[in-house]
């Protein structure tokens, strides 16, 4: 049913640290690599080596310049499904293909029921859903549901592929419904924000804002490689002659 569960036992999600993300796209490619063979496989590409390549990706990294009174800074911004508590993408689905799991709050698509009407992608404010023009159904982030419970993987690998891939540790995975979970504490500590809270979707994922600039950093200045004042004597005379 596309009615939302009254309550979920857990609410799994991601906390994404905009302070440490370097925009390397490792989470993007790792996501694609895992998921094109995973639960929602394939993530079709059309014309991948042609003039107008296109394809399905669950995770995309934007880059912004954020300018405030304190100055400007570059912010890399990974965008993927936020596994909302009130996802309209689920309730608008006419067929029951979209659903939110009551066990862990993950929002999924049953590909066999999807008629490809695309209404769910219109209902998602965050652009989390992408239509697969080859398979002709809607696809979306599964929070690597086929990794996180996968007993064939070593325990440390039972996290979403994007989290496992991040070289700077900017992506964190955990249960937001437990206020004492490490991800909940991290989000509280860093003032994790919801995206577009005014629309009322109650997204689960949190974005940890870039840290304040510090005024305490040491002033680093290298020693000049050569004297900047004019030299006297013979060498000074040669310098003046050659500088003409």
């Amino acid at each position: 049913m596309t009615c939302l569960p009254a309550k979920t036992e857990k609410q799994l999600g991601l906390a994404i640290d905009l302070d440490t993300c370097v925009g390397c796209q490792a989470c993007v490619t790792s996501c694609k690599e895992w998921n094109t063979g995973g639960h929602m496989a394939p993530l079709s590409d059309t014309n991948p080596y042609g003039a107008d390549p296109d394809g399905v990706w669950f995770n995309r990294v934007h880059t912004y310049e954020h300018t405030t009174a304190a100055g400007g800074r570059t912010v890399h911004f990974p965008r993927s499904c936020l596994h909302c508590a009130e996802p309209d993408c689920v309730t608008v689905c006419p067929t029951g293909a979209s659903f939110k799991r009551s066990s862990d709050g993950i929002v999924l698509v049953d590909e066999d029921k999807c008629i490809g009407c695309k209404l769910c992608s219109w209902a998602c404010p965050y652009g989390a859903r992408e239509f697969d023009t080859e398979v002709r159904v809607m696809k979306k982030c599964t929070l690597c549901v086929d990794r996180i419970y996968n007993e064939n993987l070593p325990e440390e690998d039972r996290v979403p592929a994007c989290v496992a891939a991040c070289p700077t540790g900017a992506r964190h995975f955990g249960d937001f419904s437990d206020p004492n979970s490490s991800i909940s504490r991290l989000s509280a500590e860093r003032g994790g924000v919801e995206l577009m809270p005014e629309l009322g979707y109650r997204p689960s994922n949190r974005y940890l804002p870039p840290r304040e600039r510090t005024q305490n950093a040491a002033t680093v200045s290298a020693r000049p490689l050569e004297a900047v004042t004019a030299e006297g004597g013979f060498l000074g005379w040669v310098d003046r002659i050659l500088s003409r």
Partner: protein
């Protein structure tokens, strides 16, 4: 939003079809409908033809039309599912209404009852269509109190214009009906202009700041995640050039409202063949105008996902 031709034709055709069906039902209930066989065939043929062609066209944009039957299952939560259910249910009283009128040659009694029920179902179906768009929070131009009434008003307007054209064609037209069609057209025009004014003056919408969670200052997109247009930009990032928008708005107002109003004035002033010709032209021109209106309804609608790609507001 990408203006898909199948959906534009679907909403315009079913709007006019359900409008006409509803008015025929109401006419029958008031005992105003002559039990003429040819009139029944033509008017119900046009109404049910528009509805069925529209519904058929709507399956054109589906990835898997063969699974469309599944869309009747989620009426508890989905306006699209409710629309599908309502559309199918409407065929029952509409079919009985057609049966009584065309086969038994009567438009009173139980046939009028079926007609009235068909009118109610038609209105509900159009309202469901309107709610599909009105319920979408990421599209500010649709998620307004104007969208649902707009669908009902335009269905009534195009239905009245069609009914007037058909009755005029059969020599059964009257000044009251022409007047009503003109009034509905002017109402529709006013509603459209009020909608535009509302869209222009709105505030408090999501911004790139709230979309990215970056508080204060300015946020400029300096690099997209991809070099070419992806699904999101093709489907939700449709942009219409401002100069084209202005021109199309003028064309649409002329076709959907202005010219039909003038033609209705002609029909009121000069009965006879002038009224017949004017009424039929008004219906055809208004339908073309409503196709442009629906194209603009999609093309001018902005989705919040475009904020991530650098839309300023």
């Amino acid at each position: 939003m990408h203006p898909a031709l199948s959906v534009i034709f679907f909403t315009t055709a079913t709007g006019a079809g359900y409008g006409l069906l509803a008015l025929l039902g109401v006419y029958a209930a008031f005992g105003l409908l002559p039990s003429d066989l040819a009139l029944g065939l033509v008017s119900l043929g046009i109404a049910l033809g528009l509805i069925s062609a529209g519904l058929f066209a709507s399956s054109g944009h589906l990835g898997h039309p063969e699974r469309a039957w599944r869309a009747f299952s989620q009426w508890r939560s989905s306006w699209l599912s409710r629309e599908g259910v309502a559309a199918v249910i409407t065929y029952v009283p509409a079919g009985l209404f057609a049966l009584g009128w065309i086969l038994f040659g009567q438009t009173g009694g139980w046939v009028a009852g079926a007609g009235l029920l068909a009118a109610l179902c038609a209105a509900i179906t159009v309202a469901m269509t309107g709610m599909i768009y009105a319920s979408l929070k990421p599209v500010a131009e649709w998620h307004t109190p104007f969208t649902l009434p707009a669908y009902l008003i335009y269905a009534a307007m195009t239905g009245l214009t069609l009914l007037n054209a058909i009755l005029q064609g059969f020599g059964l037209g009257g000044r009251t009906l022409v007047g009503l069609a003109a009034l509905a057209t002017i109402c529709g025009w006013g509603w459209k202009r009020a909608t535009w004014r509302h869209d222009r003056d709105r505030s408090g919408l999501p911004t790139v700041n709230s979309a990215t969670g970056l508080v204060g200052g300015t946020v400029h997109s300096i690099q997209w995640p991809h070099t070419e247009r992806n699904y999101l930009l093709k489907e939700m990032g449709f942009r219409i050039a401002r100069k084209h928008s202005g021109r199309l708005r003028r064309i649409m107002q002329a076709l959907a409202f202005g010219i039909p109003t003038l033609l209705f004035a002609c029909a009121l002033l000069a009965p006879g063949w002038v009224a017949i010709l004017a009424s039929i032209s008004a219906a055809l021109i208004q339908f073309a105008g409503m196709l442009v209106e629906r194209w603009l309804f999609f093309a001018e609608a902005t989705h919040t996902v475009t904020l991530y790609y650098g839309r300023e507001s």
